[in-house]
């Protein structure tokens, strides 16, 4: 029983932390620059492909991960300088249209370059088995993912809460005009935040590659979850993104694990097997609706 609870808690944590990597970038771009970036998921996809390609070329997962993340950051820089800079002053509809176009373009580009079939990555051989501690088993690779996620969360906390740049970012999220009026180079700040967000996307894509599949369209499904996270957490808030990610990760994992069993106890087996998975997949949206009902601004609104 302890094994089960602990294992599911770690699963929820692992899923939540990966969501956090995506949501952190998304919430900053949305909160500070007031820009809806639907193509955030595409950066995640492109990042995963670049990591996969680099890992195969270098025959080392870790070199591949570093190269892929750096390359995606560079791509983020180019995108920010050429496209997004034009979009900030436009209204949300133009941003949605432009970034949606970006999704279509990147999906087709990836299909052209890497083909329509998914790339199935393998984790590094040393991490492909379980880790055993006193009778408790957990996949070693997932532990590494958790460690990476926690490290990034810690780093982000230090950056945002303790550094001068972080102070500007928080100020920008809370009140953009006032920040500009105080003489902060908001444009440079935007570029930095965007590039950082792109790098986090690639990190998440690369780390999740061996657990999922690197494939066209992988960004869209996860983007929806990332939006749920930032809406729950409060747009523009890193702390909100972290808490929101962990809530969504845990609820999703527990829903999948517990709901079918619980339903089976009360309903006939046939109905339970149909209803269970369906309910589990809408659970996080129910959660989002519930939180929005009581806290329309999310749990930690940046513009309080």
């Amino acid at each position: 029983m302890t094994q089960l609870i602990l294992e599911q808690a770690l699963n929820g944590l692992q899923f939540g932390l990966m969501l956090f990597l995506l949501a952190a970038g998304l919430t900053l771009v949305f909160g500070i620059m007031d820009c809806i970036n639907l193509a955030h998921g595409s950066l995640y996809m492109i990042g995963a492909y670049l990591v996969a390609a680099a890992a195969q070329a270098a025959d080392s997962f870790w070199i591949g991960l570093a190269t892929g993340v750096a390359a995606t950051a560079l791509l983020g820089l180019v995108l920010e300088l050429t496209l997004f800079r034009q979009l900030y002053k436009r209204d949300h509809l133009s941003q949605v249209l432009a970034t949606f176009a970006l999704i279509l373009i990147s999906n087709e580009a990836v299909r052209l370059i890497w083909g329509a079939q998914p790339v199935m990555l393998n984790p590094p051989a040393a991490l492909s088995g379980p880790l055993e501690v006193g009778g408790f088993f957990y996949p070693a690779y997932r532990l590494v993912i958790i460690a990476c996620g926690l490290a990034v969360a810690g780093l982000l906390y230090l950056l945002v809460a303790k550094s001068r740049i972080g102070m500007w970012v928080r100020a920008g999220a809370a009140n953009r005009e006032m920040t500009e009026a105080l003489g902060i180079n908001v444009q440079g700040l935007f570029t930095l935040v965007f590039v950082f967000g792109a790098a986090l996307c690639a990190l998440a894509g690369g780390l999740l590659g061996p657990l999922l599949a690197v494939q066209v369209g992988m960004g869209e499904s996860v983007l929806i979850l990332a939006f749920v996270v930032i809406i729950i957490g409060g747009i523009g808030s890193i702390r909100g993104a972290l808490v929101g990610s962990l809530i969504v990760g845990t609820v999703d994992t527990l829903g999948r694990a517990l709901l079918p069993t619980l339903l089976r106890a009360t309903l006939p087996a046939d109905a339970a097997s149909t209803l269970g998975p369906a309910l589990a997949s809408i659970l996080i949206y129910l959660l989002m609706a519930g939180i929005l009902f009581f806290k329309p601004q999310g749990l930690f609104p940046a513009r309080a």
Partner: protein, 388 residues
């Protein structure tokens, strides 16, 4: 009403003419992108290889094969099928991998009186009450491979089994097939989302149930990830894995590798079968695509051969639907799986074999045929089919 009358009149006129066509069009719609792509690609490659062998002709008629990707989406599949039927006016169709897509597009194909030769999807619905003269399955009924594993697991004396399948019609068929022959305790039936790739939550649950055997039906990328994560979680030490051939063929083996060794699975075909047709097929396939064929490839190959024989039989008179149906039912082609015949519901009656994954003479990890589980096995739904 007037539309139906027109259609009827047109059909009558065509039947009256019933002249030999001078060419033939085949619509092949399959899953060629996403996690299920491995299956569709193999069906397509098997079909294409057979067309090459037949010099691009079906029954001596020059054939045009139109290939489209359904993206594993019922909506996309419907659009493609409508285009095939109305714009391209195809004579024969094949290719669909997933049963939920098959069930979505079936009605419009049958209404259009176009013969569909399924090279994979074999839903129980079309084998039983909804059986249709225009539907043939050259592979199997969905339940069959699962029944074979159920029988083997039962015979080997396993007592506590967990079943994992996606929550879709093919998954439901898998569970009923397995449980038709496995009579022991089922600790849990786990239904996952179709296309799910991360199984952490399910694997934790399975660990807590301590099953002695696990039966999973997760075709394509789903199965690849499941086996990898099953091994990574350390579950392979205490739990024996069983799967139908779908989850243990070349596409999965290639991606997972050595951890698959020792896994038992069932199939109606294997690449090491000793018959002339199969030897030629496997050798040609390896030469053409530089990989071993999977059962999906064999099914695509058989579908083309089946079309070829039937079209030759009716001497190219494709408009004579009754004659074409008889010709298809007669099954005059030589299948790579050896001999089989069609039941009254247009599904095969055939043998099912046990395969085990191990290293072959050349050191490749691949399937080896171990023995026969069922001989001349028919599906369980045929009695409900009243073929009109």
């Amino acid at each position: 009403m007037s539309l139906r009358l027109t259609a009827l009149a047109a059909a009558l006129m065509l039947a009256a003419l019933a002249h030999a066509a001078d060419k033939i069009k085949v619509g092949l719609v399959s899953t060629l992108s996403g996690p299920g792509a491995g299956l569709g690609v193999d069906i397509r490659d098997g079909f294409t290889l057979a067309m090459k062998r037949l010099d691009g002709k079906l029954g001596d008629l020059p054939a045009e094969v139109i290939i489209a990707d359904d993206q594993q989406s019922p909506d996309v599949a419907k659009q493609i099928v409508d285009k095939f039927l109305k714009k391209d006016k195809v004579d024969l169709m094949t290719g669909i991998v997933f049963s939920n897509l098959m069930l979505a597009v079936g009605p419009s194909i049958f209404e259009n009186r176009t013969f569909y030769i399924s090279a994979n999807a074999g839903p129980s619905q079309y084998a039983g009450e909804q059986c249709n003269p225009y539907f043939f399955n050259v592979a199997w009924q969905n339940d069959n491979l699962h029944e074979a594993v159920g029988k083997y697991v039962q015979d080997k004396g396993f007592k506590n089994v967990v079943i994992v399948t996606p929550n879709y019609p093919g998954g439901k068929d898998a569970v009923s097939g397995f449980k038709r022959y496995y009579k022991g305790k089922v600790a849990e039936e786990v239904y996952t989302k179709l296309g799910q790739l991360d199984y952490a939550a399910e694997l934790a649950q399975i660990r807590s149930l301590k099953p002695d055997a696990l039966f999973f039906f997760l075709p394509g990328g789903m199965g690849i990830n499941f086996v990898k994560q099953f091994v990574a979680a350390g579950l392979s030490r205490d739990t024996q894995l069983f799967a139908p051939g779908f989850s243990a063929d070349e596409d999965v083996i290639k991606a997972v590798g050595a951890p698959m060794m020792g896994m038992f699975n069932s199939s109606h075909w294997a690449h090491d079968m000793e018959n002339v047709e199969n030897k030629r097929f496997v050798a040609d396939f390896e030469k053409e695509y530089a990989r071993l064929p999977s059962l999906y490839a064999s099914q695509g190959y058989d579908a083309a051969l089946m079309m070829d024989a039937a079209v030759r039989d009716v001497k190219g008179k494709l408009a004579d639907k009754a004659a074409l149906q008889k010709a298809l039912e007669a099954k005059r082609f030589k299948s790579v799986r050896g001999d089989f015949k069609f039941n009254t519901n247009h599904y095969p009656v055939q043998n099912y074999y046990l395969r085990a994954i191990g290293k072959d003479a050349q050191g490749r990890v691949t399937n080896k045929t171990m023995g026969t589980i069922f001989t001349n096995h028919a599906d369980a739904y045929v009695s409900q089919c009243k073929m009109k």
